[in-house]
Symmetry: C2
Subunit: 475 residues, 2 copies
């Protein structure tokens, strides 16, 4: 589905019309392109007292080819910055329409040392000076600590307070800028998350809080971190599932795409297209199975075991059967709960019991904003998707000893054939009621899944990451 | 501020206009009135397998004078219902406009025994039949278990899934109907929460999930559960704070209302009005102090200690200093963080250190939807209010040994002099973007505070309860 409003207001003619009428003009989001450098330009860096992750942060910026500029508001650690060869400077609050030439691509703030709420002033000082220097499609990343790991209540309070700051900045910044908070436990690795949130790959992920609580080994290649990994993607024939399969393959994984018999042709086409584009051609596979069937889990496990097991399981298959509850049939309820939730349980149970999911495996389940906020006409769907979130919370601690992580992504309004069928008003509301002023694309969900599935994300488990452009809607 | 649209569409003339134009017609919410019975009529009761809290539920219904009707979909426990003298019956899905004469006032579902997601069908069966039988201003309460307390992942998953059901029902039901989920740990008491959520006192509280994890003693009187308790309310001169002071007094507490010197006259008038209406006349007090002053906490503690201590502390005082961050001054940042967050820390620290807050005390802090979702132009305010939530999470476990609970209320759009000054468009959006189709009143926040402050709520701590009419806005 084309977003014609977005296209129009960003055309030369439409821009002037929109400006003269005072219409909102959502930014065309910059997404990853193989022919464009993923990173570059300057990142302004701020910090509170005793920023614990400054060294790691500078090392990542150096590795990805961004230039770190230490902000003078954080005067206490300028010597550390100098040791790393970082420039330092100050950003005067600038006019909204100042020239774009000296903009920075990212604002990164190390808040790990903030132990009382008076110290939150350091965030104000940095973002007050620097926010208007941030380029379109820029990135805001605040790095804090999990509140529950802090030594006392004032420190936990201040760390939790960062949520309000990060989410407000996302709502203020607009212009395709994302704003996210990483809660990093002592000893956990930030590189995988930093690379994702600084990249165009996270174009539609904003207002999120991600916890990282364990170390991770770096992959051999950050370009193809999934090389040598085998992945299963359910519901892979079309839409978000097809995009997940394609992105996992692009990142190096060998993908088994699964869908029902009725989607066999579309599935074959999707997997053929992936073969054509893929460095591991010949290896990808289409698997036809109905995950609602009782025997499906065992069949899937057998198919995956035959090629030596699986490293990445993406539970994407899902259905909607929308009706208000008084008009909903029992079959509509049961089928949605079964396919969206029970099938995930059945498949994982078999894969885990038979050790088909290998050590250091990754499970990523697709939930939904409806699972967080509920939705009119979707009691069945919202219940199933809330269950997916509950399952991620419940399973994460149980899977730690295997090195397996489990996380959920919760898409907001994503442009698919499902949303194209919505009534105009509902579709427009869904597109505009978020900080990006537009719907996301299937690839936005897929990139988020690929990030969570990567070896560098070993420390990220039990999280729910919304891919919603910071939708207004929540709970 | 009058909500003229709400008044108009509920006038005889306006009703017909709204109907012919297809305009939304928000229900006039039924709130508590001293001259009306708080409870009455029929409650339809559904259940999944092995409903653990059925006996307690029936006992509460009996105590408050509601008639429980066991729904036949829960056939396994009809003998138990019969033992309690409950009628049983079935509710056919009915036409939307059927007569109002046989409606029920509440739908209550005991989901405590649900241990796998296939069993969620029992919720479908009950609400499919019964939702349209629920009267205007009716109540939906689902009773489950805290997911983390379940024996295995499928049970935790199914318990979490209830969130999606309860929130979707709230969005479907409209007509002033609220829908909430109680997560009750083994051995915890449900009466205080059930009474609140079944009462008109919870008119603007919907879509909430409340955890109850410990037993509680019943108060001597449920009408005046705060009799003999001493309460401090900050920011009591006007608006929400004045309403909190009034409701706590109506419920039997002796209230010290605190505000700054500039609000002295308004504070005196508020406390005089409370004196006039109050059963414990002569006891209430006005206390003028500036909580931003470093010495204020000690002064407040001394004043409260002089009358023997305090049982209930309500941190309501708060300010806004809205600007986008580039235009915000450092003073605007600091003053909001100081008054909205640091002052709560300073006051509680002294009250706890000097044992001025007595055993079994209650702390209730006022947060905000902005603290959950962030807000444009409110980086300072949202950060402070997110900090309030972080503080509740951090302090709750620390205060358990004293029997002290700490909870937050997070108001959404509440009609006050602050919202009356908003631009028309912002105000209308705030009023309509929730399941009630209208703003709340200060008394809605006050009733929620009084419930959390009552002896019966001893098992409720570490919760954040939104008073927002199930606002669409969240995170």
């Amino acid at each position: 589905m084309k977003d014609r409003y977005l296209d129009f207001v960003n055309s030369p003619f439409g821009t002037s019309i929109a400006r003269s009428l005072g219409l909102p003009r959502p930014e065309v989001l910059r997404r990853h392109r193989a022919d464009h450098a993923e990173f570059g330009g300057m990142a302004a860096i701020g910090a509170g007292p005793s920023p614990a992750l400054f060294d790691e942060l500078m090392a990542v910026l150096s590795a990805i080819g961004m230039t770190g500029i230490a902000h003078e508001s954080a005067s206490g650690w300028l010597p550390v910055a100098a040791r790393h060869g970082a420039m330092s400077g100050r950003f005067e609050p600038r006019a909204r329409d100042a020239s774009a030439s000296d903009r920075v691509e990212a604002l990164i703030f190390d808040a790990t040392g903030i132990n009382e709420s008076a110290q939150l002033h350091s965030l104000y000082a940095f973002f007050h000076d620097a926010l208007r220097s941030l380029a379109k499609n820029g990135r805001i990343v605040v790095i804090g600590r999990p509140p529950a790991t802090r030594a006392n209540a004032p420190a936990a309070t201040a760390q939790h307070a960062l949520e309000g700051m990060v989410r407000s900045l996302g709502k203020e910044a607009r212009n395709g800028i994302t704003s996210n908070l990483l809660r990093v436990a002592d000893g956990a690795d930030i590189e995988s998350a930093l690379r994702f949130f600084l990249s165009p790959r996270s174009a539609y992920v904003s207002g999120q809080v991600v916890s990282i609580d364990a170390p991770a080994a770096a992959p051999e290649s950050w370009a193809t971190p999934l090389a040598g990994k085998r992945a299963l993607v359910t519901g892979a024939a079309r839409g978000i599932g097809a995009s997940i399969a394609a992105v996992l393959a692009e990142r190096g994984a060998i993908v088994t795409g699964l869908d029902v018999d009725a989607a066999r042709d579309a599935l074959d086409q999707t997997m053929l297209a992936i073969e054509d584009a893929s460095p591991s051609a010949g290896a990808h596979a289409a698997l036809v199975a109905d995950i609602a069937a009782p025997e499906a889990a065992a069949e899937i496990a057998a198919a995956l075991a035959a090629s030596g097991g699986v490293d990445i399981v993406v539970h994407n298959a899902g259905i909607t059967r929308d009706k208000t509850i008084a008009r909903m049939t029992g079959e509509m309820w049961d089928s949605v709960i079964d396919i969206n939730l029970l099938a995930q349980e059945r498949i994982d149970d078999v894969l885990l019991a038979r050790n088909v999911l290998r050590a250091n495996g990754r499970i990523v389940a697709v939930s939904s904003i409806s699972g967080i906020a509920g939705n009119r006409g979707q009691t069945n769907y919202a219940t199933s998707k809330a269950g997916v979130i509950g399952r991620v919370h419940a399973m994460a601690p149980l899977l730690r000893e295997r090195g397996v992580t489990i996380n959920a992504v919760a898409p907001g309004f994503i442009e698919t054939h499902m949303t194209a069928r919505m009534p105009f008003g509902v579709r427009e509301a869904g597109r505009r009621l978020n900080s990006m002023g537009q719907g996301g694309l299937p690839v936005d969900v897929a990139e988020t899944v690929a990030w969570l599935a990567s070896p560098g994300s070993a420390g990220i488990t039990g999280n729910v990451v919304r891919v919603c452009g910071q939708s207004l809607i929540g709970a």
